[in-house]
Amino acid sequence: MITNHAKAFSALADPTRRLVFERVARRATSVQKLADGLDVTRPAVSQHLKVLKDAGLVIDRQEGTRRIYRIDPRGVEAMRTYLDRFWDRSLAAFKAAAEEEPRP
C-alpha cells in the first residue's frame, strides 16, 4: 500500500533522520522543537525533514510563523479505502446469500 518503499527505505537509512521521523510519528511538531529535543542544528533538522517529505513519509503545514510536520496518512487512507470497498462488496454478497431460498 505504500507506493514509495524504496525511497522511504533509503530516507530512513540515516540514523538521525530515522530519529527525526520517529519523533514526528509520535506527535506533530515544529522544526524548532525537533532541533531542541534532538541536539541537532535547526538547518540540519530542516534538511532531514525535506528528505522525509520527498520520500512521502511526512507532510507539513504552515501554522502562523511555524511549520508543523506530521506523518503522511496516505498509506493509512489507502487501507481505509480498500476496506470500505471490501466490506461494501462483502455485505452485498452476504445479503444476496441470506435472501436466497431459506434453508431449514
Binding site: 500500500m1 508543523i68 487501507m79 481505509r80 461494501d88 455485505l91 454478497a93 452476504f94 441470506a98
Partner: protein
C-alpha cells in the same frame, strides 16, 4: 497541535429479508458463500473462508493447495445478535498478531423476517501507528507499525 489524528471507522449497513438467526448462520457458518473470493492473502486460490464458532476462535481461509492463511480471531460470539472479529492483516498484506482492529457486526430484527445488519470496522489508525506502543513508549524503534515492520525486514534481510 496536540490533537490525535484518527481515521474514522468504516460503517456499513444492509437490510436483509431474513430472520436474524438465518443471517447469523449465513454470516458465520456459510462464510464462503459471500466472501469475495479474490480477496485473500494466500498464494493459491481461496477454497473456504472460515469463522470458527466460538469466542477465541480463528478467522481464517483455506486454499486450494492445502495451505491456510489467517485473517484474525473471534472476540465476541453472541448469537444471533452480535459478533466481534479481530482483523489482523496489515497494510503490507501480512498477518500481524500485534495488529488489533475490530470488526463488529450486529444483527437487529425488524419484524420476524427482516434484519438490519450493521458492520463497523474500527481502530483503523492502528494500520499507521501502533498508538498504544507509542504512548507507552515500550518500543522506541516502533511506531509506524506497517512501515517499520517491513523496513526492518528489508534492512535485516
Amino acid at each position: 497541535m496536540t490533537a490525535v489524528q484518527t481515521i474514522p471507522p468504516v460503517r456499513k449497513q444492509v437490510v436483509v429479508d431474513a430472520s436474524a438467526e438465518h443471517c447469523w448462520r449465513v454470516f458465520t457458518e456459510e462464510t464462503t458463500r459471500w466472501w469475495p473470493a479474490e480477496h485473500h492473502i494466500g498464494k493459491s486460490p481461496l477454497k473456504r473462508a472460515i469463522i470458527e464458532n466460538a469466542a477465541g476462535g480463528r478467522w481464517y481461509a483455506t486454499h486450494e493447495d492445502g495451505s491456510e492463511t489467517t485473517t484474525g480471531t473471534v472476540r465476541v460470539w453472541d448469537p444471533p445478535k452480535r459478533l466481534v472479529l479481530v482483523w489482523q492483516i496489515n497494510a503490507d498484506w501480512q498477518f500481524d498478531p500485534q495488529l488489533d482492529t475490530e470488526v463488529e457486526i450486529t444483527f437487529t430484527p425488524d419484524g420476524a423476517s427482516r434484519t438490519v445488519v450493521v458492520l463497523e470496522h474500527r481502530d483503523l489508525d492502528k494500520f499507521g501507528t501502533r498508538a498504544s506502543d507509542l504512548r507507552a513508549g515500550i518500543d522506541a524503534e516502533g511506531g509506524w507499525g506497517m512501515f517499520m515492520a517491513s523496513f526492518r525486514k528489508a534492512a535485516e534481510g
